[in-house]
Every structure is written in C-alpha cells, then in structure tokens.
C-alpha cells in the first residue's frame, strides 16, 4: 500500500520519521539517528545523541526487521489517543539495539516474545479533516515467505 498511500496525499504522523520510496518495489523504512561518536542508534531522530550528547549524528535507515520484545491489547479508550479500543501494541527491539513502541497489525495472543517482526507504514487514524494519517506498525514475518 506504500506507493498508493503517497499518491493519495496521506499525511505522515510526524516529519522525517519514515521514508516511503517512490518505487513500489522498494519497501518503506523508519529513519533514525546514528551517533558518529558513540555509535548509538536512536529513534526518532534527534539533534543530539541521547546517550553521549554528541551533535555528530547522521540520519540512517533503520533495519526493517525487529524482534518482538513485549506486547498487549489495549482495551480502554485513552484520552488524546486516536485509536479506538481494542488495539494491539508492542515494543520491538531492532538489531541496532533501539527499542520502538509500535502498533501491531495482529492480535498478539497469536504471537510470542522474540518473534520476528517487520515494519509497515500504514494508516493509523483519520485526522479532524478526514485525512488519513500514516504511522508505523509492525507485522509478524510469516515463516516460509
């Protein structure tokens, strides 16, 4: 859906958080900052390294795959949150070390800690004017694919 999403003028949930390549054959990815001083990779990107305060950072494409660290299904409506319950959330750990809070595409009762996950960019909610807002989600990588 990534290519189509760009065509439909969906709006991203934040600037510079992910890239949807124009070619449908290329997959979208999240953008982080890599510190040239200490090597730490952080998401979302920042001006200074969260670990060592260095300003010598570069934007990098983050690994598209990550391991499921923890998960739950939120059953209550949260003030300010756009999603209607129930919805699935998780924390995934990237090979770079950073952990990311994310929406999960599937009910985590069918998942387990350590499962291989893959980032997708998808509609997360509609804003007040009815525009579809794009954010990141992680979906399980099905074996054999």
């Amino acid at each position: 859906m990534s290519g189509e999403a760009a065509k439909k003028e969906h709006i991203p949930i934040g600037e510079g958080l992910f890239v949807i390549p124009p070619s449908p054959s290329e997959k979208p990815y999240l953008v982080g900052s890599k510190c040239r001083s200490c090597g730490e990779v952080i998401f979302p990107p920042r001006r200074r390294c969260r670990r060592c305060s260095s300003k010598d950072l570069e934007n990098v494409a983050l690994s598209r795959r990550a391991k499921l660290h923890s998960f739950t299904t939120v059953q209550v409506k949260l003030p300010g949150a756009k999603l209607e319950p129930p919805y699935f959330v998780g924390v995934v750990e990237l090979p770079e070390g950073e952990r990311i809070r994310t929406i999960l595409t599937e009910d985590p009762s069918s998942l387990k800690t350590g499962d291989e996950m893959e980032v997708v960019i998808d509609v997360v909610y509609k804003d007040e004017s009815g525009k579809e807002v794009l954010g990141w989600k992680f979906k399980p990588v099905k074996r054999g694919k």
Binding site: R51, F71, T73, V74, L78, K82, R101, T102, T113
Partner: protein
C-alpha cells in the same frame, strides 16, 4: 548545612471531591499542618507548592484562601515526583539557611480515567505509547523473564488495599483477594483494574523549620527530614518506563548524602502506581537483593507486621494518587508512624528511619527520594 525539622503535617482525605475546588483542599491541608505545628499562617515566609493538573499559579490560589501576606509562592511540577521535588526544595531552603521556616504543599484535582500526561508524540497519538500499555507490557515482559509472577504482583494490590482499610483518609476500603485482582476488568492484558492506582484528589502539607525555630514551638526529640535526592534519567535504550537505573541512582545518592543505608530503614512509602512498580522499587531502593522483590511480597516482609513495612498508608493503590499530593502525603504517613499516631495500621516497633519515593513521568523521567529520621 542545618538540620531540618518536620514541625507539623496535615492531609485531606484522598478521593473524589467534585464540589470542592483544589484550592480549598490545599487550604484544608495547610490549616491542619499549621495547627499540628502550632504555627500561624502569618508566620510562614514562603510556600513550595507541588501541583500538576490545575493550571497557572495553583499555590497562589491556595494562598488566597488563607489571606494575602505577599510571600513568595514557588510552584513545582515534576509529574508524580512533584511532591518529593517540593519537599527537597523546601529542605534545601532550610538546610542552607535561606529560610528558617517553610511550608510545603502538594495539591491536586485530576480528571477521571487513565492519565495521559506527556505531550502528544507520534507514538502517543497512535496509541502505541500510553501508561496502561507500558505497564501491561512491563508485566508481560517480567513474567516472560521469570522475574515476577502475576500472583506476586496481585499480592501488592491485596496488601495495599488492606492497609488502606485501616487508613480513615484513604480513597478505597476494599478487602480483596489475589483472585479479585486477576478477575477485575481487563485494561490491557495482563493489566487489570486493580493492578492500577486510581486518579484522585486531595492535598497534603508540611511545616519545615530549623531546629532553633522548632524549639520555640515544641520540645525535642524532633522528627527530621534528613535529606534526599532528585534525579532525571540517564541513558537507557528504549523507553524510560523500562529503566531501573534512575531509582537505583537516586536512592544511592540519597543514602550517601544522609549516611543512611537500606538496612536502617523501618518504613517505606513508594511509588506503587501499578503493582509491578512496588516490586521493582523494593529492589531498586535496596530493601532486598536484586531479583528478590517477588520473594519479599511472598514472605510478607512488606506487610505492616513484616521486616520492612511498605505502603502502610495504603499506598497509591489503596489510599489514592492525587499526583503532586502523593509525595507530601507519604511524608505525613511516615511522621504519623514515627509518632505512634497511625491508629489501626501502626507499626508495632515505632519506626525511626523512613523513606519516601515517587517517580514521575513514565517511572523513568524524574525520581525523588526523601529520607526521614527520628
């Protein structure tokens, strides 16, 4: 540095008071603390007011209830650690000699429902980042790692709700079983309703002063604020909610500054915002060894009758959690226990050293530890 005496304490009931504005709650707590100390409002030269949810100049709004004396009012916001932050600012004011007497207030009126305190980051807008989601995942991960069982977490709720039954000022008086905790409404599995503290309203206040001033109003021995520490997070990967370092570092600094070690402590009021937090904080504060938090609750060590009573007041879970009032109210509880005034929840061997701890903003953004000594 001068010794800091806790001359008087006061606290409203915690609960829901839709017909009483927060500034009246604040004034109630102050008047009780002033009465306890034997000090007049006109003798207070400065107020440190902790508040999170009530807009501009909350301390001045309370002050207006008591009569305008023109004194400086310093408003403090550090999420759930606001109360400790105000206590530590007030402590420094006396210890340094800047003031001889100080009033510390924590006051809060909160909206109903789950707390969403942070600015709307993309993760929060999506719903990927919320307190209840985070704590549900902390629980899931702790069970996966074999650190705690859900029963051990539920036991914290049973204990603190039981203690709250003996506290006339608590929001809830509920006699619950482990099964009741598991069977309560699912918020985000495995997090159920009774694993969560409520949002609440209420206020608490302290009159702090130098020892010289204290002698004008009372006779020694005095209960003293021995000091403490306030810290923000150091780097951890991922989310501040998953960090243990901040509480460990803050406790270590507080112990070093006061010369107190965890073995000296006889009473602890800590940040049981969710049940798992109490188990983790017991370890981080050094009340037990690393990985022994579950064993501590299983053995009953943190009961009122145990080796190291924790949350005798009912804690955030049972007494309630009006955010900025909580830290100040924890000090009230420790003082009442040290004076033998805790009624049915009184610890038999009167405690001599107490610790109050709250963590603000995700557990990992702000941490305050205050040590109290008889």
């Amino acid at each position: 540095m001068r010794d800091v005496v806790i001359l008087g304490v006061g606290m409203t009931n915690f609960g829901r008071f839709p017909d009483t504005p927060y500034y009246k709650l604040g004034a109630d707590a102050i008047l009780e603390a002033l009465g306890d100390a034997g000090v007049e409002w006109k003798d207070i030269p400065v107020v440190y007011c902790a508040n999170v949810n009530n807009g501009h100049c909350p301390g001045e709004m309370v002050e207006a209830e008591l009569g305008h004396t023109g004194i400086p009012v310093i408003n403090i916001q550090n999420a759930c650690a606001s109360g400790q932050t105000a206590c530590l600012m007030a402590y420094q004011a006396i210890a340094s000699g800047a003031y001889d007497i100080v009033l510390t207030l924590g006051v809060e009126q909160m909206p109903r429902g789950p707390v969403v305190g942070m600015p709307p980051t993309p993760s929060m807008l999506m719903g990927a980042d919320s307190f209840v989601g985070k704590y549900a995942m902390k629980m899931q991960r702790a069970v996966y790692e074999g650190r705690y069982t859900l029963d051990q977490m539920a036991k914290v709720s049973v204990k603190n709700h039981k203690n709250a039954c003996y506290n006339p000022r608590s929001q809830y008086k509920l006699d619950l079983t482990v099964q009741d905790i598991h069977n309560s409404r699912v918020i985000a599995y495995p997090l159920t309703l009774y694993h969560c503290c409520p949002s609440s309203e209420g206020a608490a206040a302290l009159v702090l002063c130098s020892e010289k001033v204290a002698r004008k109003y009372a006779s020694p021995p005095f209960i003293k604020m021995a000091g403490g520490a306030l810290r923000s997070q150091t780097f951890v990967r991922g989310d501040p909610a998953d960090t243990h370092e901040i509480t460990m570092n803050t406790a270590k600094e507080a112990y070093e500054k006061t010369g107190i070690s965890p073995e000296d402590i006889n009473i602890v009021e800590l940040h049981d915002n969710f049940t798992i937090s109490e188990l983790e904080h017991c370890e981080e504060l050094g009340l037990c060894g690393e990985g022994e938090g579950g064993k501590l609750i299983d053995e009953g060590a943190t009961e009122i009758t145990g080796r190291i009573p924790v949350s005798t007041s009912g804690g955030l879970l049972g007494k309630g959690h009006p955010m900025a009032a909580t830290g100040v109210a924890q000090v009230c509880e420790i003082v009442w226990q040290m004076k033998g005034q805790a009624g049915q929840r009184q610890i038999k061997a009167i405690p001599k050293v107490g610790l109050s701890n709250c963590n603000g903003g995700d557990q990992g953004m702000a941490c305050g530890v205050v040590i109290i000594k008889k």
